[in-house]
Structure formats: C-alpha cells, structure tokens
C-alpha cells in the first residue's frame, strides 16, 4: 500500500524527455493540470552541460554520466527463447537516457521523416513483390497512420528545433540537392543545411559520380541563429565535436531544455517532480481504466498519484515494462504469436567503413557535429528494386563526422596491434587522417524477437526487469551485406589509402558489448488491428483508453533512419487527437 497519496491531476506524464515535454506543452495549452514524473535528476545547459566540463570524454562519453544508471534498473537479454537471459550489466550496445530531457539531451540531432511507404511497408511489399516475398517468421505490419496525416506534425517538430536541411520534395516538386526520395513537404526546412565537413565533401563527390543522390543530413544542430515559435533561441553550432553522449554547451542542439522547457516550466498548470520513479500504472478494479500511477520519490517513499489521463513518455524499453507490470493489454506470447504487449521488438542494423587517408589529407576529425554530413537514400526503404535481392528493407548511407574524441573515436587500420609501440604509432599516424561512412539499416520484426518480463532478475525497487529476446535474422544480414557493398564502392571512390569494413555476416550474433544504436523499437506497436498492436493509431491503449503510450515502442518494425523525427511527430499527432477528440468525449478513439 502506498504510504502517501497526492491530490489528483488531469494528466500524469511518466518520463520527461522529448515526448514528455511535447505532451506537457500540448496538454497544458489545452488547459489541463499536468504533472510530469521523471525518475532522474533535473538538468539544464548551465551548469550540467557547461564548458569546459562537458569536454570531459571519460565522464560523459565513456562512463556515461548522462545515461540510465543500470545499478538501479536494466534489462536482461538472450539470443533465443531457448536461452537463459542474463542482465545487461554494463552499458554497451544502447544508451538509454535518464533525467530531465532524457536522450533528447545527448542525441546527435539527426532528424528524419520516414518514407511514406515505410509506414505501409506490409501493403507495399505485397503490392510490389507478392505475399510470398515476406519470410514466414517476419511479422511485417503497417503502422495504421499515413505520412500525409503526420506531415504537419513532422514540420511542427522541425520548427520547434530549427532543423537545418534542404527539402528534396516540396509539395510534390523534386528539388535538386535535397533527398529526392522523401515524402512531400509543405514547406522548406526552417534553416539551411550545415556547412559540409571535409570528409562529407569527398563522400558527396564520390556518391554523385556513382550516380547516387547525396544531400545534406537534416540536423538539429542549428546552422544559423534561430528563434522557435515559443521564443526559445538557438545559437549556431560551432562544431565542438562533443555531441552524442553529451549535452550541448552552446545552445545549438535542439533538446527539450533548449526548445520547450523555458516555456513549459513556467506554466502555472504544469508541475515537474524529478527523482520520482514510476513503478506501475494503477487500474480500476475491473481493469478497464487507469486511476493514476504509483512512484517512489527521492526519499524512497511510495507515493500514489491519481490522474484522469496517464501518458507513458519514458524510453521505449521502460514503456513496455510498465505496461507489462501493470497488466495493461494482452501480453505477447511468442509460442503462438498472439498478444501485443512485448510484440515486435526491433533495433537497427549498422554497417561501417573507416577510411584512412595519407598524411597530405588531414581530415581534422575533432571538427565535428552530431548531424553534419552527407547522406544517400538510394538504397533505403523501397527506393530500389528488392525483387532480385530477396530481402525487405534497406539503409541510409551517410558520411557524418560527430567528432574525434580520442578514447571512443580512434579507428585504426587493419592489422594494428591492440597495445604496445605499434598501437601507439598507429594512433599517431592515423588519428588526423580518418573518416567514416555508415549504413543505418532497418530491422524487421519477427515472431521470436520480443520483450517480456524476466522471471529472475529485479530492479532496485523489486520490480521484474524487462527481458529482451533478440538476434539477427537472415533478412537483415542479407540487407546489410548488400548495403556494405554499396558503402565500400563509395568509400573506395573517396581517395583514401585504406578502407576497413565492418559488416555483419551470416552467423553473427547480436553483441551487447559494443555500442551500436540507441534506437530500440517496438514492444507496444501501433496499428489498426488490436490483435497485433498494443496501441491504436493514436497511441492509445486498446484495453485501457485513458492510457496513451508515446515513443519508439509504437514502431511495428524499424526503418533505416534515426527515430526522433517519427517519435516526436507521433507525439504531436496523438496530442492533437487527445485535445480535439478525447477530451471532449473520453473513451476509445478507435
């Protein structure tokens, strides 16, 4: 039993990153009394990300000062249903955020809209290649929401952030030097693209010569001074090279702190409580309605917080865990493929090429920004014919230089010893002369890649940990092998001395030790069919209609892009439907 009971609020937000800040803005604007509960610390540019302390690579980049503290809460992982899962004890493969701003503080700012056909991937695949093209185990699902419906909300976020970029499709007109494959935009980006870095100049030239369509990465690192619709101001990015894993000291990277919180935190109908860890959503006796949440406060007290509306705005993994421990929705059963909560966990398939140049071509890798670079989308989504290739999905291929931080970002040529005089000499000879090409590939969903509660391990509050069952499948290996070939041909044309490839091969297993991507998706997929989705197309729980679930947990599978553009557009779309429809007649929206 909770020892403290708080007065009721209209809406409680669980987690206070991007989606929490967006929901806070939208629901307070609708006149609701809104409370945000954030498990982590209060954080702001000053003093938490201030110069020079934020250049401390060991504390931020390596020890992960801004990330989730795994001692308190983690996940367990295994490769197959036959294995026993073990805890993700040290940070490696993915780096969930913590504290105010969440991962919106330490993202790179690479901002994407998915392709229109990404959102109807099942329909599109069947139309173009036939139903037999989909592997038996693959749970390919349409999203239930269209690009056109989301278009105003993609733009809404881009304007909040002052995204720097160049449109490739303006109201159906293809624009030169933008992404010709993208869906139509109503308007040009708020800011022009960032200045092209040394390595990206070479990438762009090589890609163009090979007949591809390079364009500037859309970036939440401002290319010019910018004032957003709320009056929050961003300064131009100075390419400091401390972006992902770090907060921005320069007010250049869009984050909740730099775009929304200066307004939201001053609204009288908004309250933020930090160090408040929600442990469950409370339901009415018949389980059809949420009555609020229970959380552990900073002093360790259990607190009951009643609310009319519960919005889960935590990281994807945590949203799914809260649904499972709160018995909201039908739990996914991987044996039968039935149930929706925990279903369709997916990730990101990355491939890498490192280029080593001769000493007459310094690349100055420390001159970097999280989202400055050049990209091609020729081999992403269904922008190319998959028929003869036999796999679903693709990847964006980019040359983005986020920095040259020497512990983490020190690629060395093939054959370099791990230590000793040879290792040291290789660093000296190569550090200034390296560049990277990356492939960010889609990952489809499968019957036996899923999330459930671990039977053994618990968090610091005694709540079961989430269990991740995940491994690479032949479809993604085939995709990345294909993408790796394309990357290598571009990298070879960039004029380096040596190209070192890192591409997954058949038989490779998912490795949690090395960083790959904090783009964990699924587990509470959205859709039109309540048998295969946990939330409807408005991110509303099918089973408990006053619970909404934000975040990448709603992705039915993952595309070949960074998720934040989609996650935030979905939050705005959900908020619009809550404001315009749900609040007038609380109940199921679909």
């Amino acid at each position: 039993m909770a020892t403290i009971k708080k007065p009721s609020v209209d809406a409680v937000l669980v987690g206070f990153g991007w989606t929490g800040a967006i929901m806070g803005m939208e629901l307070t604007a609708a006149g609701l009394k809104v409370l945000a509960l954030e498990r982590g610390e209060s954080r702001d540019t000053n003093p938490d990300f201030s110069f020079p302390r934020n250049t401390d690579e060991l504390s931020f980049g390596i020890r992960g000062k801004l990330f989730q503290n795994l001692a308190r809460e983690t996940v367990t992982a295994r490769h197959s249903m036959l294995d026993i899962a073990v805890p993700y004890r040290q940070l490696g493969s993915f780096l969930p955020g913590d504290g105010v701003g969440g991962a919106g503080v330490h993202w790179n700012g690479q901002t994407w809209r998915p392709l229109p056909d990404d959102l109807r991937i099942r329909s599109r695949t069947i139309e173009r290649y036939g139903k037999k093209f989909i592997p038996e185990n693959m749970q390919l699902q349409d999203w239930g929401v269209s690009y056109d419906e989301l278009e105003p909300h993609f733009e809404q976020f881009e304007k909040i952030c002052g995204i720097s970029g160049k449109a490739g499709n303006l109201r159906g007109q293809i624009q030169s030097s933008g992404n010709p494959f993208e869906g139509p935009r109503a308007n040009e980006f708020p800011l022009p693209p960032m200045t092209t870095l040394n390595s990206a100049i070479l990438f762009e030239k090589a890609a163009r010569e090979l007949g591809y369509h390079p364009f500037a990465q859309a970036s939440a690192n401002a290319s010019r001074p910018y004032t957003n619709p709320y009056g929050a101001q961003l300064g131009p990015c100075n390419f400091c090279g401390f972006c992902e894993r770090y907060g921005c000291y320069n007010y250049s990277k869009a984050s909740p702190q730099t775009t929304l919180l200066p307004t939201l935190l001053h609204r009288p109908n908004f309250e933020l409580r930090t160090r408040s860890q929600v442990t469950r959503v409370n339901l009415s006796a018949d389980g059809t309605r949420a009555t609020g949440v229970t959380y552990i406060d900073a002093q360790g007290n259990e607190v009951e917080q009643p609310a009319d509306l519960v919005i889960l705005c935590a990281y994807q993994l945590h949203n799914v865990r809260l649904l499972l421990v709160s018995n909201i929705g039908k739990k996914y059963d991987a044996q039968t493929g039935s149930g929706a909560v925990g279903r369709n966990y997916a990730y990101q398939m990355l491939a890498g090429a490192t280029l080593f140049f001769n000493q007459d071509q310094p690349m100055n890798p420390f001159v970097g920004a999280g989202a400055s670079g050049s990209v091609i989308d020729d081999f992403d989504g269904d922008n190319f014919d998959h028929g003869p290739l036999g796999f679903v999905g693709g990847a964006s291929i980019s040359c983005i230089n986020t920095g040259g931080r020497p512990i983490q970002q020190m690629p060395l040529p093939n054959g370099t010893p791990n230590w000793g005089a040879g290792w040291k000499k290789a660093m000296k000879d190569n550090y200034l002369y390296t560049a990277n090409v990356g492939g960010q590939g889609s990952v489809m969903s499968y019957r036996d890649n899923y999330l459930d509660l671990d039977p053994t391990y618990k968090d610091v509050n005694g709540v079961p940990l989430l269990r991740m069952t995940f491994d690479w499948k032949p479809n993604e290996i085939a995709m990345t092998q294909f993408i790796g070939g394309k990357m290598q041909s571009i990298a070879n044309a960039m004029g380096s001395r040596e190209v070192k490839m890192s591409v997954k091969k058949p038989g490779d297993h998912y490795d949690l030790r090395t960083y790959q991507s904090t783009h964990n998706t699924g587990g509470a997929p959205m859709g039109l069919d309540r048998n295969t989705s946990a939330v409807n197309r408005y991110l509303q729980s099918w089973d408990v209609p006053n619970v909404f679930v934000m975040g990448a947990s709603a992705f039915p599978q993952n595309f070949g892009y960074n998720p934040t553009g989609m996650v935030t557009a979905l939050a705005y779309w959900s908020a619009k439907n809550i404001r315009e429809r749900y609040l007038k007649a609380p109940g199921a929206l679909a």
Binding site: P47, F51, T55, L70, G231, Q361, P362, V367, G420, K428
Partner: protein, 237 residues
C-alpha cells in the same frame, strides 16, 4: 626534478585556456556562469596510491609500461600518469561498479552479453594481480612480474589476453581487458583524471582537447589545424 606546488586561480587558467566562454544566444536560455573563483592545486609531486598496495602498484607500473611503452613516437604510460589514473579509478564509481547492475544470480554466458562476474573492477584487479604474481613466483624462480625480462612480460600479457594463460580463480582475459581499457583511458582522457600528463598523448596525435569551437575550421580539406591542445584546467606545457 620539479617538486614545486603552485597555487593558481582557476579563472586565470581558464581565461588563457578557453577559446571563448560560450555566449548565450537568447533571453530564454540561462546565462552560463563565469568560472568559479577558486584555487587549484597544480602539483608535480610523486603520486602515492590510495587503492593499490605498494607491491600491486609496482606490478601496475611494470605492466602499463609494456602496454604503452615510452619511445620516440610519444610518451609512455608511466610518464603519462596512467598508474595514478587507474588507482584513482579504483577508488571511484568505476572501480566500485557503482553504475553496473550487480545483482545475482551471476551466470556464465556467451561473451556477447558482456562481463557477468560478481566482482567489481577493483576486486578483479586485486585478485588477478595476486594470481598473476603467484604464477610468476611459481614459474620464474620467485620473481615478480616487474622483475621479469621485458620479452617475458610481453609473452605473459599475450597469453593473458588470449586466454592461453589461465589464472587461479579469475578470468585472466577479463582482467586484461579491464587493464587495457583503463590504460588507454588514462593515456587519452583529460588530465583532470590524473593521466595524460601535460596532454602528452593529445600533442602526439594532434587532438586539440577542450577547445571545442571549430567554426572557422569547417570545410577546409587538406589544412592541418594549427593550435596545440588545451585541457579542462587550462593549457598544458
């Protein structure tokens, strides 16, 4: 040898070190504070280990000297202060595994799932150093690791790295991976953590350190950045 201790105001160091204090672009953002007026101890005194016993520290000094030897290419791990760095790490959150999930049961798993042992790094060091020294004593006529010929030391480290050498009661390759990781961290991190003395490794590779403002250096292929490194606490050497 210099043994002086200088007391220098932080503000003076920062003014010299930083390219500029970040400017606040607008009224909605809060204003970064000026550097705290305080004093900082700049010391050149020899370091006295806090965690490691003298014999362990002698081992550590010998082993990091093999992982990053001193030569004409650049500083070695000893002059870079790596032993001090590792000792300080053992006393901090890393050594205690403060942010690692350390609840049992502890189950052996495939290597892809990461270190699953129950010992925090400081205990891995302590237990493994003792086991390795016992191995040396038993197999090399009572010698310690530090007393072995350099070629013999390298051979042992390679055997540890490849798991060819099994230590009693602890995974030698796990220990080696912590040791190598921490040695590289101490060599390449900001000097505030006790390693990378005088930003020696940064000078060697050409990393400008905490400058963190390269607006004038974007899109200038073929031009080498001209300025030496600065650190969080100011210019180094």
């Amino acid at each position: 040898m210099r043994q002086s201790i200088a007391i220098i105001p932080v503000a003076a160091l920062s003014a010299a070190a930083c390219t500029k204090i970040p400017q606040t672009p607008g009224a909605t953002a809060s204003i970064p504070s000026s550097p705290t007026i305080a004093t900082v101890l700049v010391e050149n005194a020899p370091y006295s280990p806090v965690f490691f016993h003298p014999a362990e520290y002698a081992f550590l000094i010998a082993v990091v000297a093999r992982l990053i030897p001193a030569d004409d290419t650049g500083p070695g791990a000893i002059e870079a202060g790596v032993p001090e760095f590792i000792d300080r790490q053992m006393e901090g959150p890393f050594g205690h595994a403060t942010t690692w999930y350390m609840q049992g049961p502890f189950v052996e798993s495939r290597p892809e799932f990461g270190y699953q042992g129950k010992l925090p790094p400081r205990d891995v060091y302590r237990v493994a150093i003792a086991a390795l020294e016992l191995h040396c004593k038993t197999n090399f006529l009572g010698k310690t690791f530090a007393q072995l010929a350099l070629a013999e030391q390298d051979k042992l480290l390679k055997a540890l790295e490849s798991s060819a050498l099994q230590l009693d009661g602890i995974s030698g390759s796990t220990f080696f991976s912590f040791l190598l990781q921490n040695t590289k961290e101490g060599y390449l991190s900001d000097p505030i953590h006790g390693g990378n003395k005088n930003a020696g490794s940064w000078k060697m590779i050409g990393f400008p350190g905490a400058r963190a403002d390269f607006i004038d250096w974007v899109g200038r292929p073929g031009e080498r950045y001209p300025l030496p490194p600065v650190t969080i606490n100011g210019p180094q050497g």
